[in-house]
């Protein structure tokens, strides 16, 4: 990407089990807090540990629309961080949001009633129809610009950031709210459980003894902005989105390509898009779900591209796998780490897996450098990577 096409990151916002805002999250990272526990949001016989958000502030809480509530928390934090308050209709402001749960009409009570009686209340349908994530945010904050919800499974958040980058590059908006949001929901909990990839223990990304992921929930948002727009608003930023790459494995619906073909291509594209070389990357915030397949493939590909001395981590030990929110949250964490100059321990990792040629950081680690990468691998074989830079 040409230097001039790099987009400022003028605001960030995050909510997850690790914290209800970016500052609290960084504290959790520093203190190695893992706020996991049993499911409390709904009754279930499934005993997997999960990473639930402790409390959604009342002002953002929407009954029966948890994903939207989470999104709103992170969006408002990011907008405040970007000094965008009050009337937003004066901006050409786009909304590109990734999700999985909010895209589906999967209300069990609605369906149970329909199935047993042939009729059902339209309440949950109405909520669903008004709950398209990007459209909801657009109307809620009074933005005027493109609004699109990306539903690319676990890479949704990263791909939504990529979509926003393309909008900005093509002049379709001047500022974009980009990221992802997802609630902890019964349907993916059952589904991932059935696939046999959920751990009964706290997840251990890249560890020799890893045995599956933990589900989580949250939202992570970047405010992306052209330099010209930031200049007009009288602000600047030390962070920018440098590049994005995406590629499909074209291999399997649920398993990654054994050689990580799509991940490799997406990383190469992201680096080319950013106009940098692998050695300029100071660390990688890996997808690192703690499933045997994901971490093996991802570890091999990262080592191949960046070398075995790469500083890398997975933050899923702090948040769980937040599905459509993961790419957004991890983009925020990556940006924050560049800004703060340190990355947290890759929590949950204890023992090196000899089949994986690199080792995640075990402790809070100082980083120097201008660039970092965040990766996402998705159900369906899509892979996405972004490069974030620091001025």
């Amino acid at each position: 990407m040409h230097e001039n096409n790099r987009m400022f990151i003028t605001g960030i916002g995050a909510i997850s089990a690790a914290g209800s805002n970016v500052a609290d999250t960084l504290d959790s990272f520093s203190l190695k807090n893992r706020n996991a526990g049993a499911v409390t949001l709904f009754d279930t016989p499934l005993k997997y540990p999960v990473f639930e958000v402790n409390k959604i502030p009342d002002e953002h809480y929407l009954e029966g629309q948890r994903t939207l509530s989470l999104a709103l928390c992170a969006v408002i934090e990011a907008l405040n961080d970007a000094h965008m308050e009050g009337d937003l209709s004066k901006y050409r402001l786009g909304i590109s949001m990734g999700t999985t749960v909010a895209s589906q009409l999967n209300d069990l009570d609605f369906y149970k009633s329909y199935r047993s009686t042939g009729s059902a209340s339209m309440t949950s349908v109405d909520r669903y129809l008004k709950g398209n994530l990007a459209e909801f945010i657009l109307r809620k904050i009074g933005a005027r610009g493109p609004a699109l919800t990306v539903v690319n499974a676990c890479s949704s958040g990263t791909d939504a950031i990529g979509v926003a980058l393309s909008w900005l590059n093509n002049g379709l908006c001047d500022i974009a709210i980009a990221g992802g949001a997802d609630e902890l929901n019964r349907i993916p909990l059952c589904g991932f459980g059935a696939l046999g990839i959920v751990s009964m223990d706290l997840c251990a990304p890249f560890d020799r003894d890893r045995n599956g992921l933990n589900l989580g929930e949250g939202a992570g948002i970047l405010i992306l902005e052209t330099k010209e727009s930031a200049r007009k608003r009288g602000i600047t930023s030390d962070l920018f989105l440098a590049g994005y790459g995406s590629s499909s494995d074209a291999y399997h619906l649920t398993a990654p390509h054994p050689e990580g073909k799509g991940l490799k291509i997406s990383l190469q594209k992201a680096l080319i898009d950013a106009g940098i070389k692998p050695e300029e990357v100071s660390f990688v915030n890996a997808h690192g779900t703690a499933t045997p397949d994901n971490d093996l493939v991802e570890g091999k590909v990262l080592a191949e591209i960046f070398g075995t001395d790469l500083k890398m981590l997975s933050t899923k030990g702090f948040t769980g796998h937040t599905l459509g929110a993961a790419g957004g949250l991890e983009a925020v964490f990556t940006a924050s780490a560049l800004r703060e100059g340190w990355i947290p321990a890759s929590i949950g990792f204890k023992n090196k897996d000899e089949a994986i040629p690199l080792t995640p950081v075990r402790e809070r680690t100082v980083i120097n450098g201008r660039y970092a990468v965040s990766t996402s691998l998705a159900f369906g074989g899509n892979n996405a990577a972004i490069v974030i830079g620091k001025v």
């Binding site: 329909y114 539903v151 791909d159 393309s166 909990l189 499909s248 074209a250 073909k261 899509n382």
Partner: protein, 386 residues
């Protein structure tokens, strides 16, 4: 950006030629289908039959996938073939699905409003019938929103970015807009942009609760208020590229969404997305001009949130073939200037109206218009390739 190829699956068959035949033949009544859980009730539906999606060669590795994914894969494959671009056509040899190095240069963007909702309800059946700890992993993995796009890329060996986007009113328009952005940025050389929707009885129930079913199975696109819907299903894929080619259909000159300044000069035909999916479609009257013919083809394929893609396919065919296709349903209580009969192309008189006295000319520009329930507007402008 140019439309290089089109693939389509709808209730009257598979392939762009099939769609062209439907445009020429006009309206045919939809099927009446039984509705499970609702005794003695039948609904009109423009349903794709199993024969249409029974391609055993192309679908041999996705036997357990759902109808949504199958419709998407077939139409995406047909869009590649229809382009006539040799190195993009999937291999006819079932043991080799490779389309070569070009696979990295092709992107996929799938637009859908409701996605794999039928599989989602199957999964809910699993939970209700067998319990949360005894559900089918296969049903779950096929119920995710991006399953159809994933099958497109894996079946056709496409390694470019593969994206699924959803929005209730303009997901197809946004997908087209993003495709143009990707082509501009040279992220891809070609992009398969598609829309896919599936009918299911639960969705049909929601339609019936929210909207008015057409009592005679006939969507009346020029009624505007009241409106009548007949659920449809199917898939349309467009192969998009920067340059036109020998088989190109037309250029996508512009995609406008939301607030924008309209340009009406030189438009030969307005195609509107009226299909009964809004209880009141009077807002479309704002975009209709007495000087420009208006068409709506939803009675051929049914009511769908991404029906714009089918109307765009009709527009692209008209530009390629330089031939108008008559409106399939002619009820016209507001007396607007609708396309009647397969009129030969005649030049615009005055402000763009048709007159027997004016000389015949090419069809140059078609505007495909859609409104949301919030009266927001989107338009895709299709222009004849030169």
């Amino acid at each position: 950006m140019n439309i290089l190829g089109i693939g389509i699956v709808f209730n009257r068959g598979r392939g762009i030629n099939c769609f062209e035949n439907a445009l020429q033949e006009g309206w045919q009544g939809p099927a009446e289908v039984e509705v499970p859980y609702l005794k003695n009730k039948k609904s009109f539906v423009y349903q794709v039959d199993s024969q249409t999606i029974s391609d055993k060669t192309l679908l041999r590795k996705m036997r357990r996938s759902d109808k949504l994914s199958k419709m998407a894969v077939l139409s995406a494959s047909d869009a590649l073939k229809s382009s006539g671009i040799e190195n993009l056509s999937p291999s006819p040899n079932p043991s080799s699905r490779h389309i070569g190095r070009e696979g990295e240069k092709i992107g996929v963007i799938v637009a859908t409003a409701f996605g794999a909702h039928v599989k989602t309800f199957d999964f809910l059946d699993d939970i209700l019938d067998y319990g949360e700890d005894s559900v089918s992993p296969t049903t779950f993995s096929n119920s995710v929103h991006n399953a159809a796009a994933s099958y497109v890329s894996s079946t056709l060996d496409i390694h470019g970015p593969t994206l699924t986007v959803t929005q209730f009113y303009f997901s197809f328009q946004y997908a087209m807009q993003l495709a143009r952005a990707w082509l501009n940025e040279k992220r891809c050389d070609y992009i398969l942009v598609g829309a896919v929707e599936q009918y299911g009885d639960v969705l049909g129930y929601v339609y019936d609760c929210k909207l008015t079913p057409a009592p005679d199975g006939r969507i009346k696109p020029f009624n505007f208020n009241p409106t009548f819907q007949v659920p449809g299903e199917g898939a349309v894929f467009f192969l998009m590229g920067r340059e036109n080619s020998e088989n190109s259909f037309c250029e996508v000159e512009n995609i406008m969404i939301g607030e924008y300044r309209e340009f009406k000069t030189g438009v030969d035909l307005n195609i509107i997305d009226t299909d009964g999916m809004l209880p009141d479609e009077s807002v479309y009257m704002q975009s209709i001009s007495p000087d420009i013919h208006t068409a709506a083809y939803s009675p051929l394929f049914g009511s769908m949130m991404t029906g714009s893609a089918f109307n765009c396919a009709a527009g692209a065919l008209m530009l390629k073939n330089q031939k108008y296709y008559a409106n399939p349903v002619l009820d016209n209580p507001h007396g607007i200037n609708i396309l009647i009969g397969n009129n030969p192309p005649i030049s615009k008189g005055g402000m763009g109206g048709f007159s027997e006295q004016t000389k015949r000319s090419d069809i140059e520009l078609i505007r495909c218009i859609r409104y949301s329930c919030h009266s927001e507007k989107a338009a895709i402008y299709l222009r004849k390739n030169h």
